[in-house]
Amino acid sequence: MDVKRMKVVVVALVLVAIALVFVLRDREPPADMPEGGVLEEEMGRGIQSVTLVFADRAATGMVEERRELAVPEDRAGRAKRILSELAAGPTQSGVRTLPQGTRVLSVFFDEQGGVFVDLSRELVDNHPGGSTGELFTIRSVVQTLAANFPDIESVRFLVEGEEVETIAGHIDASVPFLVGHYR
């Protein structure tokens, strides 16, 4: 009887210890947290491997680059973080596809697989122009989103919250870009 009770107590203690280890481990901040404590907006972020799609040097095809990023848990926040990384340009062999200075203002997902990407004015103002330059900007954003969010179907661009006819005067941006067309 006593032995049985002791066994129960030991098992219970071991379980509590294991649980404590897990709880404490979860509370430890991720390795890349900035010094000086945990920023509120950094809470809930996990490290994730993401795919960024840039262009090759001669504008003939796309180049993928993988990065480890701390991303928020919600889809919109994650997409915004990934596209901001895309806007910053490649670190390997690729060529940038979003003009210098372009900021990602916000990203929205609708219920039909559509994504709205709201970008700053620099997208239009600093764009190098040409239908090829324009096409690779669109391809790069659409393919990057599709690589990280496989269930999306279309991407729509907004500039400072508003619709645009085109980015640089050629490709119709007043309709959503279908993922299937920009692979």
Partner: protein, 503 residues
Amino acid sequence: MRKPLGASAGAWIVTAFLLASPFRALGGTLVIDFPEGRSPSRVETRQVDGVAYLRLADLAHGVGGARHWNANTGKMTLTVGPRRIAMSAGNPLVTLDRVVRNLGRPVVLTDGAFWVPESFLRHALGPAMNAEVVKGAEDGAYRLVKLGPVVTSVEIEERPDGTAVVLWLNELADFVAESAERGAIEVVVEGGRLVDTLAVLEGVGFVSSVVTAGDEEGVRADIRVGGGATSFEAGLFHDPYRIEILVGSGHDASFMTPALKERQGLLPAGRDVLGAWDPDVETIMIDPGHGGRDPGASGPAGSAEKDATLALALELSRALQREGYYVFMTRSSDSYVPLKRRAELSNLAAADIFVSLQADGWYSQSAGGFRVAYHAPTAVRWRPHGRSRGAGLRYVEGAEAGGNESGLEWEHVQDAFRDESRQLARSVHDRMAEDLAVSDRGVAARSLSVLSGCAMPAIMIEIGFISNGGDEERLADEEFRRDAARAIARGIVDYHRSLGGRD
């Protein structure tokens, strides 16, 4: 004078002031005061996630707007004067006359009422009323200050039916256009403002000069005409808002008078310019890309795409005339022509082929070469329809989808010509690849805005990358331009031969 399209201009003038008490921490009311003797109305406010929300019904009442709820689509529409704001619950995106605007926070439907975040004032209601939203620095109160019409720019463009002076507006405006003395037309936009205080344009075609000035009364444009002009027409147009004064030589009905054709030097040499229009001769519309305030891409040596495309277009015009075609251009000077207008001009001229000339751009000098593209829409919606070749389709702002007079969706006018456009692109590409020592990027299908409204076979030629030093140099070389123009013209002839039209 031609009747203005749509709503009577200037009839809708509202001056609204939101003389508001500051938002309280947990909801409350705003007072909207109208200066036109209406009693002040209250707007209920509420805090949602730290952002102030305003009750839509109160805003609608305050600005005298009408609300319409569609239970099937879940869409709420607020009509303010001639403009419509559409929204749905849970969505931060609203549309103002079909243009999407991002409020940053979703519209909320609660207790049977719509609530909009305070950003709605700046992004939707203010623009709909053409009013600036001012937030008081001291009391945090909002005021909507009516802006009045603004003349954003003035341009002269040559058209198949004369020379047009276009005053671009940010909204509908009242105007008067009259010719009090011979050779002069005066246009007054009452209460309007000019972005620059004075604009002086040199003459093109029938117009010898335009001087535009703004004062307290409004904007006054003094148009001097010459070159045999005998009549003018003035009208107010939508999408974008503009006043057009078309100066012509008075031959009504036909879109192109023989005299004008001769003067523009557009007819093939040796043809009887006073004789009847020969319907068997094919007409080509050349579209030099970009222009005016839109320079397009630029080269490392500093040349602008808009100049390169115009220089090539003039060369191509000569090459095509030598082949016996009638030729028109969407612009023949450094002027800004909206994309939809370019296709519209081609339709009005009943052109048989539309050729848009461009020079490509890239982030570095590594990309080079030419490409020929045709239109392949990527739009979600598609519905089959009949063809309307050269039907003179005009772009008209539609309340629902982008429409035009024949009821087709503008974005789908080109769909019916896709096979011919692809064939034309191949013919032109093959000649260019054969005749020009430039690297070849092939034929591509792309969703191209300028081609989508063309009711005829249409292609876009990227003649090279102006961002590439070598290509830029070639584009600046007259001999290269001549060779390129000849190759394109021969490609067009090949295409017509393949149809059995030319021997």
